[in-house]
């Protein structure tokens, strides 16, 4: 299987954090990831989905996920139509959080960066945020 795509649209409620990462993990298993790669992707997407739910407070109440794989590259986009991020660089600093009262650790972006090969953030205040991540999956390469 060289190419595959999945699109998900789900309500932006915390119960769906687990649903989102389980769907993505299931999609990823087709690439025969190692257990560590699977855990890396699950953690990174869990951070992005949680961000969309907590910080996005989406006007339409949804989180949109698109996953793609092409050869051994796994690509995922997590999009919300919420408040957006005014200063992306600041938001990505480790330990920075706008929600200390909710005890967000401020490690979300740091974990996404640590566990994925590529991380891009697109955001516009009032429009929403899209987090784009990529990771090369090892075993798929070996099988080619």
């Amino acid at each position: 299987m060289m190419k595959n795509e999945m699109k998900l649209s789900m309500d932006a409620i915390s119960e769906n954090e687990a649903l989102g990462r389980i769907c993505i993990a299931t999609f990823l298993t087709r690439l025969h990831p190692t257990l560590e790669e699977l855990e890396d992707v699950k953690t990174a997407v869990s951070e992005a989905i949680t961000n969309a739910i907590i910080h996005g407070t989406p006007a339409d109440g949804k989180v949109y996920i698109t996953c793609r794989c092409e050869k051994d590259i796994f690509h995922v986009e997590i999009e919300d139509h919420g408040v957006g991020i005014a200063d992306i660089q600041k938001a990505m600093e480790p330990l920075y959080t706008t929600k200390p009262e909710q005890e967000r650790s401020g490690m979300g972006f740091a974990f996404m960066e640590a566990f994925m090969d590529e991380l891009k953030v697109w955001s516009q205040p009032g429009k929403g945020t899209t987090i784009i991540m990529e990771k090369a999956i090892g075993f798929a390469r070996l099988e080619d």
């Binding site: 855990e39 005890e103 967000r104 490690m107 740091a110």
Partner: protein
């Protein structure tokens, strides 16, 4: 269904059995209940038992560092037990391994 850790008080120690999946959703109620026990019982140690935990994200880091900040105010300490290599790695990336005591078991 609300998934929560199960709390146990043993002498001056609060033992928290962490759920299978530790994320933003499951940590909300654990945080609320843990703080309730911390204030009511003046516990000196809080022990997070990760024996059943298969998944954790940065919400678990927030939960641990928040409880640790509170208990150290009373001169207490935080202990993490039965953490698998994955959880240990997350604690290390977040710089928590120097703030909490990581043990195999109590």
């Amino acid at each position: 269904m609300e998934e929560t850790g199960i709390f146990e008080i043993r002498e001056n120690c609060l033992l928290v059995h962490m759920p299978e999946e530790v994320d933003h959703h499951t940590t909300k109620s654990i945080r609320r209940l843990a703080d309730h026990y911390l204030l009511d019982n003046r516990v000196q140690q809080i022990v997070f038992d990760f024996a059943d935990t298969m998944f954790m994200d940065s919400s678990g880091i927030g939960l641990l560092s928040g409880r640790n900040a509170k208990i150290t105010c009373f001169g207490g300490r935080t202990i993490v037990i039965n953490a698998n290599t994955r959880i240990r790695k997350l604690l290390q990336i977040a710089g928590l391994q120097d703030q909490v005591c990581i043990m195999d078991e109590i």
